[in-house]
Amino acid sequence: MKIGILINEGPFTHQASDSAYRFTVAALAKGHEIYRVFFYKDGVNNANKLSEPQTDDRNLVSLWSELGQENDIDLVVCVAAALRRGIKDEIVKEGFRISGLGQLVEAGIQADRLVVFGD
């Protein structure tokens, strides 16, 4: 089954991105295809490669980046939300790409399910 994911919160204030990450890993393990992960609202902060958590904390920016590249997942950061928050191409971690909100709607159309994680 093709599953789309929407993440509305960043990696530190809310559990949303962690939940989405664990859900995505479990979905891949069950043989589902992750059609796209779309990062919106503060979710765009998940793509900020300048983020440096303490060494004993999980690094979701890296985890998403690695998961995306290993499994060829389309990690899309919303351009309007990103520009507002200063997330530009220069600071976007490998594996993510910046694109329009239309990519979210398109994921809703093309995927069999769309699951929203946020606050």
Partner: protein
């Protein structure tokens, strides 16, 4: 009829997400409590009776890892609430025609 999975990630003590969901969810649909939403699964809270009353017409699930993280593994949960792990979460999403997050 289509089947709907409702996702709730808010504590019923803090937000009205659970109330609104219970008001609008149709009989036969399912609810999965995740993150701070898991507090709604605990028996003997002031919200428990409202949740328990809906176990008759809704299927209610709770995400085990979030229960454990919050020190609730040994707490009694409301009867007829099923504990699932992340794989179970994925199965629920796949088994229902659509899902809705009550953020």
């Amino acid at each position: 009829m289509k089947t709907m999975l409702h996702l709730i990630n808010k504590s019923p003590f803090e937000k009205n997400s659970l109330d609104s969901c219970l008001r609008l969810a149709q009989s036969g649909s399912s609810i999965l409590l995740i993150e701070d939403g898991v507090y709604a699964a605990v028996a003997n809270t002031e919200h428990a009776h409202r949740v328990a009353a809906r176990t008759r017409d809704l299927s209610i699930y709770v995400l085990g890892p979030d229960v454990a993280a919050r020190g609730l593994s040994d707490s009694p949960l409301i009867d007829d609430i099923t504990v699932v792990d992340y794989e179970g979460f994925v199965d629920l999403v796949a088994e229902h025609d659509a899902n809705q997050s009550w953020l």
